[in-house]
Subunit: 227 residues, 2 copies
């Protein structure tokens, strides 16, 4: 392995909490109308809207508004919709909280001869802000903010940095985004599960595979790579 | 000049039309409430929200909803807000229409020894879609989608491609985004005005300057560079 890619959201810093807290707020807001399957309805809207909005807080906010209008049959007052836009802004301004051990692991990898990339998915503007606030930006050799983590994306990133797939290790919390496409292009993938996972990221972990590892924490990665 | 950067929106393809058409639709939607200065109110909301949303259609849609709630004093029915979300989706799905002569100019530049970069600002996902639909993606040596076009951004782009500023020419329709920061970092800038300009892009053109050119059309650029 010559090059390590690290995921950002829920690998280096907390992310899914801000979405789940927002959802809890919205369920309360529309409590009298909210069907039991409110969360499933929201997830369905998000899934339908992915092809328009991609990932990130702005698309989530629009999907939240759309779902609330739908479940209240258009009965929600506009002022409450304004409250949802404010909620989106609060999510975008939320402080970035590093996961335990993440800062030290990144520092050790950065001090090693390995090339270190941050490969993160979402809104460009939001992700740039979060990376800047994380305080880790300068430790990476390059930052790649991508709109989707699929095979084509990893091929493009590896091509740009002239890395052969077997020399590339990607570490992250999502089987769908950080593991499966990396294995498919011939790289090595380290899954570091996080207790919370967005419904649309759910995917089954691959079978045993010499290029697939499971870690308890990012803190294990420097030792594993001997740096 | 060894490297040419081209702007996308309203330099290669039409863009501002979709925003102005959306605004006209919204003014009609809230006609009975809309104050005479509706457009200024919307622009003010967009300006205030830039630090949360950055550029692009999703942020515009959220700002449109916010402004409509504000000018109707919360009186707009939720169903009409849903209509605004649909409008945002229509903007995101709108076909990409190249400006006259743009395709041929890009093809000539691409066939020359010059390195050709697309440097465009906005939502990552939306811009990627538009670039793909433009049919021009393969003609560029690299595509840089950025969240802001300021001096730091141009320095980063030039650094990544190892170009000295005096060897870099940027062509685009915005004085604020394509000209002033490029001149400030020591590059050459070619302004190609477009009849429509978003209020927040307005800026005064620089005084006479040996590194600042004005073109009527992108079609003039290959001749100017002798390719």
């Amino acid at each position: 392995v010559s090059t390590v890619g690290l995921d950002g959201d829920d690998t280096l810093w907390r992310n899914e909490e801000r979405f789940q807290e927002a959802q809890a707020f919205v369920r309360d807001l529309v409590a009298s109308h909210a069907p039991d399957d409110f969360q499933q309805r929201l997830l369905a809207t998000e899934g339908r809207n992915l092809r328009f909005f991609g990932y990130g807080v702005k698309g989530f906010t629009l999907s939240m508004i759309e779902t609330v209008i739908e479940v209240t049959d258009g009965g929600i007052p506009a002022r409450q919709i304004q409250r949802l836009i404010e909620l989106g802004k609060e999510m975008l301004e939320a402080p970035v909280e590093l996961l335990p051990g993440a800062g030290e692991a990144v520092a050790r990898l950065a001090a090693s001869p390995l090339r270190l990339l941050l490969v993160t998915k979402g809104d460009l503007f939001d992700q740039e802000e979060r990376i800047a606030r994380s305080g880790l930006a300068d430790l990476f050799d390059a930052v790649e903010i991508v709109s989707e983590k699929d095979e084509a994306t990893y091929r493009r990133v590896l091509g740009r940095h002239q890395v052969e797939p077997p020399e590339f290790l990607m570490a992250g919390n999502s089987v769908r985004s950080d593991v499966l496409p990396v294995l498919a292009v011939g790289g090595v993938a380290a899954l570091i599960p996080y207790p919370l996972l967005w419904g649309l990221e759910a995917a089954e972990a691959p079978a045993e595979n010499g290029r697939f590892l499971r870690l308890q924490s990012l803190a294990e990665l420097p030792d594993l790579l001997g740096v």
